[in-house]
């Protein structure tokens, strides 16, 4: 097949790629490999479409590329500090890009050697990234231009909740900035669909967009990721493509009110091989197909704990994909999508939980093994040889910005989610980020958020759920049975951290924070709770520690003093002696010049005793407080009751040994 990873332009349900323009083909290089794409592609979607699905290795295990992996790229020959995330970066014809992550291959990614290798060995099938240390999340370069905007309200997230919040605020005559990470509005609405009696997703987004269109009070920032929300300010990084040129900028948005409508992310089902190439979550798979026409293969198995992933299977089948099986974790799933699938001839199996996935090196296909949830692995597993796996998980509200702003979270047992708790002045969470399930509730919560922030009365949010005899409740995110030791047990997250599942009991649980120093995301923490490896209370605190990071380390300060002591020590009576010497040697100690008959130079802190038999430290009569100058010996001491005559020896303590000294003079200054 000529284009195994791109559906035809006329694929049904928009799965031909709504964001790409097939009339403007483009080519660029990524780590020396030629990538073909279309205008509207991101670097990542074009790479996928060109068959690049293997990112590299983590401890010897192949790791697939994914929209959740912060793959940073920059033009060859430019400063790596300017690198941008490939999943947000528009593809540009003629670019020569390289990744920043360390590579397994010592050969360079660009230049003459890379071209020679390409000529001799052919195209690479992988980016060959060394992922053992994880990947650092994207952090904008200090050189990025910074601009400032202000508004009455900033809405983060242009899904239905965000659009509704923005529309409501504009209706109140307010100035609004709407920040959207993707290049288009709508969020994941088309993935979730609508329930009976609601508008279609496309109709809803179109209507909400229309309500906002042409409003002078609205600034819509697409391709813009909110990095931090603090009192009165939202910090945003935006990537723009203008006339074939990519630019990025930082925006400081000043606004007294903020709506967080950041949606919910899909959790990674936990089983060995859950981050292999050609494996995607159902939301990522849906959006890749809908936006770019990209699919991970032609034969797929869909594993899901809920009905939403059925839409991908249905649309994919209609687009020409061979759906080998829909494997539902639930024993008796009921949903109109189940009915549609059955009626469409798709094969459905129920009560199947992923057991493991393995990459078949010879064929490049995946072997996907699922176990029956009822027989605890004793029965025969169900196996598939497939091009790709769509493994759906449950949903975790995206609350990183909320937590970093100081917001509290709590574990909701019923939904297996962390949800926001409490309030922060001027900041409201809306939509799926707040835990609302239905589209109607998302819209209602967006409106209510805007009204509340402007002191207007808001209607209660209605979150209609279909009766369970029509729509079975979602099952929790899949967790395979634990088998064997830590390696190969699967990952807890799909992002930069590569948090491995550890068998119980955790072998080095006690020092986990230090021995497993990865930036745990909320998804991984939710997985730890589901695995019973951390209790929900600790999980909420852990989330605050791991995802609420709001630190900016300033550049190193010039050292005022190169070394603590640059000059020879000399006692300067105008400098007060340290307070901790107060009361040590009586009420009126004297500062004395000490001489050393043995020409020793005494050190600060040496105790002084009256007798050569030193006795206990508590019996000391004084202490050396300054050394002598370079040309002298002895030093300066603070002594409670120094001998009156200079001929009388005192003894400076050097560990257990006495060193003779004489009080040569008393300094007129007194220490009190």
């Amino acid at each position: 097949m000529s284009a195994p990873y791109r559906l035809p332009a006329n694929a049904e349900h928009g799965f031909g790629g709504l964001a790409i323009d097939r009339k403007t083909p483009l080519r660029f290089r990524l780590n020396g490999r030629e990538i073909s794409g279309f205008g509207g592609d991101t670097v990542l979607s074009a790479a996928f479409a060109s068959g690049l699905w293997l990112a590299g290795q983590f401890r010897g295990e192949p790791i697939g590329l994914s929209p959740h992996l912060p793959l940073l790229v920059h033009p060859a020959g430019t400063d790596a500090a300017t690198a941008l995330p490939a999943h947000r970066l528009p593809a540009v014809d003629g670019a020569n890009l390289v990744t920043t992550a360390p590579r397994l291959d010592p050969m360079p990614a660009s230049g003459l050697a890379a071209r020679a290798r390409l000529r001799l060995l052919g195209e690479e099938r992988a980016l060959n990234l060394q992922l053992d240390a994880g990947l650092l999340p994207f952090s904008p370069s200090a050189q990025t231009t910074r601009e400032e905007l202000s508004a009455d309200l900033v809405v983060i997230g242009a899904g239905v909740a965000g659009l509704a919040a923005a529309g409501t605020a504009i209706g109140l005559g307010k100035r609004v900035i709407l920040v959207e990470r993707d290049q288009q509005t709508g969020g994941a609405l088309s993935y979730f669909g609508a329930i009976d009696g609601e508008e279609t997703p496309l109709a809803q987004i179109t209507r909400l967009d229309k309500e906002l269109a042409g409003k002078g009070e609205l600034v819509l920032l697409t391709g813009a990721k909110a990095l931090r929300v603090t009192a009165g300010e939202v910090l945003v990084h935006q990537i723009r493509s203008e006339f074939g040129q990519i630019t990025s900028r930082m925006l400081a948005l000043a606004a007294p009110r903020v709506v967080l409508a950041t949606g919910a992310g899909e959790r990674l089902p936990i089983y060995p091989g859950n981050r292999l190439p050609f494996s995607l979550g159902s939301v990522a798979a849906f959006q890749l197909a809908e936006r770019f026409g990209v699919v991970p293969g032609r034969r797929l198995v869909v594993s899901t704990p809920h009905a939403h992933a059925y839409r991908y299977a249905l649309y994919g089948r209609d687009g020409g994909l061979d759906i080998l099986r829909i494997a539902d974790l639930r024993l008796e799933p009921r949903s109109r999508y189940v009915d549609f699938c059955m009626a469409s001839g798709l094969t459905l199996s129920t009560g199947l939980v992923p057991e493991r996935a393995q990459l078949q090196k010879k064929t490049g296909t995946l072997r996907f093994t699922l176990a029956n949830v009822l027989d605890a692995g004793r029965g025969s597993p169900t196996e598939f040889e497939t091009d790709a796996i769509i493994a759906a998980g449950g949903f975790q509200p995206r609350l990183d910005l909320w937590i970093a702003a100081g917001g509290a979270i709590t574990w909701d047992k019923a939904s297996h989610q962390f949800r926001p708790r409490g309030t922060i002045e001027g900041l409201v969470v809306a939509g799926a980020a707040a835990g609302w399930q239905s589209t109607r509730a998302a819209i209602g919560s967006g409106k209510a958020a805007a009204l509340t922030l402007f002191g207007k009365p808001a209607s209660p949010v209605d979150d209609p759920a279909l009766p369970s005899h029509f729509e079975s409740p979602d099952a929790p995110t899949a967790i395979s049975r634990a088998t064997g030791e830590g390696k190969g047990q699967g990952f807890l997250d799909a992002g930069a951290a590569f948090t491995l599942r550890r068998p119980l009991p955790l072998p080095d649980l006690a020092t986990e924070a230090l021995t497993h120093p990865t930036p745990l995301g909320l998804d991984a923490i939710a997985a730890l709770v589901d695995l019973g490896q951390i209790d929900p209370g600790h999980g909420a605190e852990l989330a605050r520690e791991r995802t609420g990071i709001a630190l900016t380390i300033p550049p190193a300060e010039p050292k005022a003093v190169k070394s603590p002591k640059t000059a020879e020590p000399a006692f300067a009576p105008e400098n007060p002696l340290p307070a901790y010497l107060a009361g040590r040697f009586g009420p009126r100690p004297l500062i004395c010049r000490l001489g050393s008959p043995e020409a020793r130079r005494f050190e600060v802190g040496q105790l002084i005793h009256r007798e050569a038999v030193l006795g206990e430290p508590e019996t000391a009569i004084g202490v050396v407080v300054a050394g002598a100058s370079a040309t002298e010996h002895g030093g300066w001491a603070l002594i409670g009751a120094p001998p009156e005559e200079s001929e009388v020896l005192v003894f400076v303590r050097d560990g257990a040994a006495p060193q003779a000294a004489r009080v040569l003079a008393r300094h007129p200054a007194r220490f009190s």
């Binding site: 209790d535 520690e545 630190l551 603590p564 802190g605 105790l607």
Partner: protein, 353 residues
């Protein structure tokens, strides 16, 4: 007089509270309940237990070293890996701190401890002191080991997150857990978290001050410390290194950002993996505090510094009324209502708040 189910309720999280509870149970007729939050995997440690910390007062040094000797006798019971033997460097950035470390070094030498001068790399310039093979509590593991040991010693445990504590003016307390109420004749608050949660701020001695401390986990592959544990006196920054990963702790004087920008050559290259800000108690005079809440006989010990867990035997003696002669001198000086700063207690770190 009311009948109490327990003689003592030790309330607090961390190794100190657990060790004290276990030691009290082992003492004569001390039925003890431990109200504590169990340590958890992945959580960021908020302190690092060290077998020695800078001090300049002989009475404090004597009592502290004696308590440490007694605490280290428990090491075998705590299990493998709870205590590490690490080199610890104390760094000075100015001549005042260098002098302070000089007093510390020579005081310790007079007690037979080895504290060696630390010189700048490739130079004979002193920049601090180093203690080799010092007992260091493995982060979290030490707390867990102490928690397990308290269980084995026979202390009854209640999860602090699910226990309602009512402190009474006579020093006793009522504990309600899972709908069942019990009482203890003497309540002892032994962690900052417990003190700040249960004691009104105005019931604390004025010598104690609440400060914001921070903890962070850093990825800094290129960072080279002078020893696995490095403490900067000027900023109060503690760094504990482990294969390119570092636990960073502040003592409340300087914000973590600033402390790191001074301590790390390339702060821009740091990956911050985890971070927490929390409130803690320090003393204005730099000395530990043994006392009670105002208008109450509820006991509390605070501002014990990095040696806190190693002072557990002394704290247990104090609670049980069995202080040794050396301990008595120090604890009595550091106890009761200090209010204004007592000059006789001033030590390194005074004015940290």
């Amino acid at each position: 007089m009311a009948e109490h189910a327990y003689d003592v309720a030790v309330i607090g999280s961390g190794a100190l509270a657990c060790l004290v509870a276990g030691l009290l149970v082992a003492g004569p007729a001390r039925s003890t309940v431990l109200v504590t939050t169990p340590p958890a995997a992945f959580r960021l440690p908020r302190s690092l237990s060290l077998g020695l910390s800078p001090m300049t007062r002989p009475d404090r040094a004597r009592a502290s070293l004696a308590a440490r000797t007694e605490a280290l006798a428990l090491a075998a019971d705590l299990g493998k890996g709870a205590l590490l033997a690490e080199d610890v460097s104390f760094l000075a950035r100015n001549s005042a701190d260098l002098d302070g470390l000089g007093h510390f070094r020579h005081l310790m030498r007079s007690f037979g401890e080895t504290v060696e001068p630390l010189l700048a790399r490739g130079s004979d310039q002193p920049i601090g002191v180093r203690v080799r093979n010092l007992a260091v509590g493995a982060p979290t593991r030490f707390d867990m080991a102490a928690s397990d040991w308290a269980d084995r010693a026979g202390a009854r445990r209640l999860d602090a997150r699910e226990t309602a504590v009512a402190l009474k003016r006579d020093g006793s307390c009522r504990l309600t857990y899972a709908g069942i109420t019990t009482e203890a004749a003497q309540a002892v608050l032994l962690s900052d978290e417990a003190i700040l949660a249960l004691a009104p701020t105005d019931s604390l001695d004025k010598v104690l001050e609440i400060v914001p401390q921070e903890a962070a986990l850093l990825a800094a592959p290129g960072l080279r410390l002078r020893s696995p544990v490095q403490i900067d006196l000027a900023t109060g920054l503690t760094l504990f290194g482990h294969r390119g990963t570092y636990l960073a702790l502040t003592d409340g004087r300087v914000r973590l950002e600033r402390a790191l920008s001074q301590a790390v050559p390339d702060p821009a290259g740091l990956g911050i993996l985890s971070h927490a800000r929390f409130e803690a108690l320090v003393s204005r005079d730099g000395a530990p505090y043994f006392g009670h809440l105002k208008n109450s006989r509820t006991l509390l010990a605070a501002a014990l510094g990095p040696m806190a867990a190693f002072l557990a035997p002394m704290v247990a003696h104090w609670v049980a009324g069995t202080l040794t002669e050396a301990e008595t001198a120090f604890v009595e000086a550091a106890g009761g209502h200090r209010g204004a700063i007592r000059p006789a207690l001033l030590d390194l770190g005074a004015g940290a708040a």
